[in-house]
Symmetry: C2
Subunit: 336 residues, 2 copies
């Protein structure tokens, strides 16, 4: 698993689109204490509200890693960024790379690495020592967020659950499975980059044995009911052996984004199917509640929607953006 050094200088390049700044925004939202400054090229129009610094200024202010958390169109890096990356390595600042392109294969950076104490951490590379899942029971408690689709708040919900547990004095660790989550927590496994034979094994490695009263809050990926991503969701579910799942949903969505004809369907059915599959590695698994983003609802109020959903599913249903997750956490702790 990765494990890297803060504070961070966040590289925004020439970004002009807030959607592609979501990794940087996630860092500022969830670990502001790790975010020292932002580095923006003249054409960049996004502002994360951090001080602007050059690499030298950041170095002097104590930066230990530069985060490349933007997602440029096509995932490619630009030629004019490379001298900046070289300077970073020469200044002994690690580069945390969330792009698909492997920076250590760019000749100028291969060379810079050789004479530097800094390293390039490639977030999309899974650990090399992965093994096949064993299904053996582990100690400690686990909750996994699962989704009705991609981009419905699985990471946000997991981070919120973790915060709420901590605020109540419950021992808890957030376990990241995607690049933004890994940057926020400083460690994790990019589960969707793992070879399929090892995916449940990777999930087992991510949340090892722990104290009996400790909760691992595991960031979910994909959706079990998704024609592209169900495999990663199932491997993560089996390897996580969750004691509880929390379903995440975006209230205005009725079909999978980008997959016309694939209905999300009944949320009670999504919960029941997930429990059926999860029971294989943990027969005691239960659903602690549903976390719903109601911000995009147009035909009813968020409160009405949540009340109706709660009635239909007999589960606590909460919008983590509009309120707090206490009803779900109450249920979670009651079960344990």
């Amino acid at each position: 698993m990765n494990n890297f050094s803060s504070p961070y200088l966040i590289f925004l390049g020439d970004l002009q689109d807030r959607v592609n700044a979501k990794t940087g925004q996630g860092l500022v939202d969830w670990c502001p204490e790790k975010c020292l400054a932002q580095l923006r090229l003249p054409t960049c129009t996004i502002d994360l509200g951090l001080p602007d610094m050059t690499i030298q200024q950041a170095k002097q202010a104590g930066a230990r890693s530069m985060i490349i958390g933007i997602a440029p169109v096509g995932g490619r890096i630009k030629q004019e960024w490379i001298p900046l990356f070289e300077e970073c390595l020469r200044s002994s600042i690690d580069i945390i790379n969330g792009l698909h392109t492997r920076l250590d294969e760019i000749p100028a950076l291969t060379k810079a690495l050789k004479s530097s104490l800094a390293e390039i951490v490639h977030l999309r590379t899974p650990p090399e020592n992965l093994v096949i899942g064993t299904g053996a029971k582990r100690k400690g408690k686990r909750v996994l967020t699962i989704g009705t689709d991609c981009g419905v708040g699985k990471k946000y919900t997991a981070l919120s659950l973790h915060r709420t547990l901590e605020s109540r004095g419950v021992k808890s660790t957030f376990r990241a499975t995607g690049q933004t989550g890994i940057m926020i927590s400083g460690s994790g496994i990019p589960i969707d980059s793992v070879v399929v034979d090892f995916v449940s094994g990777a999930a087992e490695m991510l949340s090892p044995d722990n104290d009996l009263d400790h909760w691992d809050v595991i960031e979910g990926q994909g959706a079990l009911h998704h024609p592209g991503y169900a495999a990663v969701s199932l491997g993560l579910l089996h390897g996580s052996q969750p004691d509880a799942i929390v379903l995440c949903h975006e209230a205005s969505r009725h079909e999978l984004g980008g997959f016309p004809g694939y209905a999300i369907g009944s949320l009670r059915q999504r919960v029941d199917e997930a429990l059926l599959l999860a029971k294989m590695t943990n027969p005691e698994v239960r659903c602690a509640g549903i976390s719903v983003n109601t911000a995009w609802l147009t035909d009813s109020s968020g409160q009405d929607y949540l009340r109706m959903l709660s009635h239909e599913t007999q589960l606590p249903c909460v919008d983590p953006l509009a309120g707090d997750l206490s009803p779900i956490v109450d249920n979670l702790l009651m079960q344990s």
Copy 2:
């Protein structure tokens, strides 16, 4: 997808264990017309019943590929084999490598490759142009074998179904997903080596659009109810969009091999769960029957077992080793 040249020289090395000869045996059983000869070192005690030949003799007899289908302990190749592999490349015979070790990274072989027309095909390398599964409906018919565990006859059943369909004049293609199947058919995708995000996409690529009355018979992998391999099984199921599934089982097995405490449970339940999951990409999916290896039964006769199972599941249940798969194929074609 791979696609390689026969006839084959089968390299058995110093093999002394019949279990590790199963790839070579599979080739002799399923495509004897492609198997020219075997190459055995002096300490090898396994005999596939093929003529013994040196590389030069095989070359003169027309060999176009040498198959390395053995699975040595630890998956490592031995130093003394390398000169043989060099000779192979120098004689313009391709090497089909089913081992984990990448032969093209061994310096002597890297060098031999440069001055040879032959190539090394690494069977565990998936195609590079994989995409995420779309879930879009494809033309033609598909049947997928699924298992209650590993090593329960998914490949054997798929090959038998394909043979039976062909013998009835039905258009059919066997689609291989594991290394032995790929060697037998000469093409396929090693599905368990694919990065998890692309596994259903790889399955979609494996069985593209086809004639409306053509059957793709797809080799299953793993088991949906397996703590290590469910992810690969689910991705393959979703991407295959099968019109029919055939469950494969080994009658004496009550627990997953090597996973104590993981019961196989009711076969009717295994079928129903698989259909529930398969319906997502093909709502019309049905189970055509159960293919059971009854050879290891000690407490009842195979015929009694199959009769009982058929009564319990209301499905045709056949032992493909003891009889033929006609009842399952009848059911398959009736459905279509």
